[in-house]
């Protein structure tokens, strides 16, 4: 492998947050082209899965709720399928249905055939916000790899994924006091996502009560999994352990009593803030 001699770090406002992409390759022109292509992929995911845009896949699914099935992009199908699997595996904790319909339980939508889906009830709506950001990060990182980058990082407002020979160090913010950090972790060829803090409120769909956990961070093999699993940890806390194991993921969360809980396999690699 030739040594990387050009690197760049850029940012754009996308997915309702700041998406930062860093990459290294052989020449600056190729690095810039790869980053442009990665931003374009994220914009594509945004256009497909925005819940606010009535012409997006999600917008059309919601518009035809209770009615006919809608043809969706293969990427949307992948995200819907992942959401369905996680909904079942978490006993309904992970749910893309929008409150208050989610309280009724069950799955809000179904995949009727490849790339065709429908929202089951006329009063149900879905929002892929809890999973599409992670998916977009994975797609962008994939593009950077296919453009021959030797290492790369994509960070969409705290949902991030990296590849390359060296670990990247990531500060995890204190969810209640954003200027402070809880700890620092090294991530290498994997993804990290955080939930909680700020205005974010994670609701336990089974009880319709706000989660008692203040913030959760998950590292996982892919960002789509890390993104979705943070929502499960926010609600289930330590009970999310078996699900994390099954997906090769680890987590830490801050309880409402101000204690940090971390999976044992991860705690060794943490550098705690003092």
């Amino acid at each position: 492998m030739k040594p990387a001699c050009a690197e760049a770090r850029r940012a754009r406002p996308l997915l309702g947050t700041f998406v930062e992409i860093a990459a290294a390759g052989e020449v600056r022109g190729a690095v810039d082209a790869a980053i442009d292509a990665a931003f374009a992929v994220i914009a594509r995911v945004h256009v497909l899965m925005s819940a606010h845009d009535p012409s997006s896949d999600v917008g059309r699914l919601n518009r035809h709720a209770g009615g006919r099935a809608v043809t969706v992009h293969p990427w949307t199908e992948v995200v819907l399928r992942t959401a369905l699997e996680l909904h079942r595996a978490s006993n309904g904790i992970f749910d893309v249905a929008v409150t208050p319909v989610r309280r009724r339980g069950g799955e809000a939508f179904e995949l009727v055939s490849p790339c065709r889906a429908r929202v089951r009830r006329p009063d149900a709506r879905i929002d892929l916000g809890g999973i599409a950001k992670g998916f977009a990060v994975d797609r962008a990182l994939d593009v950077l790899g296919r453009h021959g980058m030797t290492r790369a990082l994509v960070n969409a407002g705290g949902d991030l994924a990296v590849f390359g020979p060296d670990p990247e160090h990531v500060e995890i913010r204190h969810p209640c006091h954003p200027p402070a950090t809880l700890c620092r972790v090294a991530v290498r060829n994997e993804a990290l996502a955080s939930s909680g803090g700020g205005d974010a409120v994670i609701v336990d769909p089974r009880r319709a009560a706000a989660a008692a956990i203040r913030g959760a961070t998950v590292r996982a093999p892919s960002c789509v999994l890390a993104d979705a699993l943070t929502k499960i940890v926010m609600v289930a806390g330590e009970e999310a352990g078996p699900m994390l194991s099954r997906h090769g993921a680890s987590a830490l969360f801050l309880s409402s009593r101000g204690r940090i809980h971390a999976t044992r396999d991860w705690s060794a690699g943490l550098r705690r803030a003092t």
Partner: protein, 179 residues
Amino acid sequence: MRDWVRWAAPSAIVVSIAGPVHATEYLTTEQARALAFPTASRFVEAHVIFQPAQVAAIERRAGQKVRARGQQVWRALAADELIGFFVVDYVIGKHLVIDYAVALEPDGHIRRVEIMQYRESYGGEIASPRWLEQFVGKTSQDRLEVDRDIRNISGATLSSHHVTEGIKRVLAFYETCLR
């Protein structure tokens, strides 16, 4: 099955009085211009100082207050033909100051939006006009303690809402002054 270890979280309240500043420089104006208009042969500075009527028109079109006295803008030319406008703007949020660029087609369509640099702060510095001076006109002096070691952050995300509002204002500026 995962087992868990527990420890007390660091007491962060003390830190939040004068929090560290996270700052990142992505692109210089020249780099952002060249990326937005790779075929441009030159950029002609066309900075605008607002007339009161222009401020009123921009505020009406954008539905927001105009705080700046003017706008940095360049015409991108390829063999003397206008191929677009490059507008540099900044927005100030509750916790951050962002310099960003909007590249426009000659007809006013957005070609790209790129963040050039941002700094965030959780202290009281943003209220001070002297502190703001360092972001205006790129005469940045690192008077604040900037932790350059913090490159990647996860959690408590910053909203891009202010940039979205800023872009609306840039488009109103185009309608008022460039069209």
